[in-house]
Symmetry: C2
Subunit: 215 residues, 2 copies
DNA sequence: TAGATTGTTAATCGATTAACAATC
DNA sequence: TAGATTGTTAATCGATTAACAATC
């Protein structure tokens, strides 16, 4: 069974294989990928095996073939489309984020309830949230990015699930309650930063020359 | 040993306990927290046990006591400080992000190499990256947020490590090479979104009424 | 051929879950 | 007391790693 960490590692391998391709290489070995991504060579081979990717004994993996296979796995030749809810700081940054565009992911439209956001110009249309159900159905959208305030995110999610959304990228700290067939990927900025502070405090390697040692 | 997932779960418990506190509760049980955070009650008790948090047999956990303990664990009464490198879309959104301010995390200053960014007004000072070493040492900074372009992130990281940074929150897709005592938390926006698309494609629950079924 | 690498099976490791005594 | 909940030990589960045959 393929789980999230498999997928994410393979996406990292893809990134690394692209880099090797750019540098003019034709072949790549599991230990190259392992070193670049920070896992063991066995892990790389096991992951490839799970996705049916075969290499050549002694000869490693053919980079062109790998890139083709990755394109098949991740539908690299198809434009992927999603919508974004909540045009606050994070929302408007994501709309402009080049990392998505490079990979042919488009945020087709954004939705908000604040009229000033709806009037604004952001490079993509911004509609009132009331129109989201119609938009989802007309454009056949399956996923949504949630960058609304945490107080309203559960309600927003419930409505989007009703409209047919089955995958969420959730930027709020809320743990969303969703039906079993719905997937939520959480990005909790505070959690990542606070856990970093925790590590640092318990680390013995911080600069002991600091007079004023605050975190 | 306390690992990242322990810390992040406990931070989620804290969030949930605060909510219960706001609602006027005095006591909370492991099953309450479990349900809210989406883990098992045993997991909650085990995590608490790891952090030395004790409850009352039959009586659950005292919310006031819990909140005090969480404040101790996560230095909730102290201002936490960090810096940000790269004032692009993501960087400038993070500077304004309220989720940090609410939790007493301040981004003291930002750094960039683009003169137009340095002139801009963002609510915090923006300096040229050349000044980062001086700033880190004068202000005793241990952590940095990386929102620079992926091509330059390794070089930026190397310089920051030299200046004494031992914790990074990395928003680029690069896997950073750092010494063993340095911790990196990665937030790869593309990875999270692309893996969501993968899930959706392999799901049997997407709307089969869609004529045009693109991802 | 010899050496290096893949691919898979088995072993290990670690985290989660189950079980249950303690006890309020 | 009886019932419910904690806290910990043991069992299970799953993912990673090791081992090694296959083979280019």
């Amino acid at each position: 069974m393929i789980i999230k960490s498999n997928i994410q590692r393979v996406l990292r391998y893809q990134h690394c294989v692209s880099n090797f391709y750019e540098l003019g290489f034709d072949k790549i070995y599991s230990h190259n990928l392992a070193e670049a991504v920070g896992v063991s060579p066995e892990q790389v081979r096991k992951d490839f095996s799970e996705f049916g990717i075969r290499g050549n004994k002694r000869g490693g993996y053919d980079i062109h073939q790998l890139l083709d296979t990755f394109q098949d796995i991740f539908h690299g030749k198809v434009d992927k489309r999603t919508i974004l809810i909540g045009m606050g700081n994070i929302g408007s940054a994501l709309v402009k984020y080049r990392g998505f565009k490079k990979k042919r992911i488009s945020i087709l439209a954004a939705f908000d309830i604040d009229p000033s956001k709806i009037k604004g110009t952001y490079g993509i249309p911004v509609y009132h949230f009331d129109e989201v159900d119609k938009f989802i159905n007309e454009n056949c959208i399956h996923t949504a990015i949630l960058s609304v305030p945490v107080v309203s995110v559960q309600q927003v999610t419930d409505e989007l699930v009703k409209s047919g959304i089955i995958g969420f990228l959730n930027f709020t700290p809320a743990i969303l309650q969703v039906p079993a067939h719905v997937v939520v990927n959480n990005i909790d900025l505070y959690l990542e930063l606070e856990s970093l502070f925790y590590y640092i405090r318990t680390s013995e390697h911080r600069n002991i020359n600091c007079k004023e040692d605050k975190f």
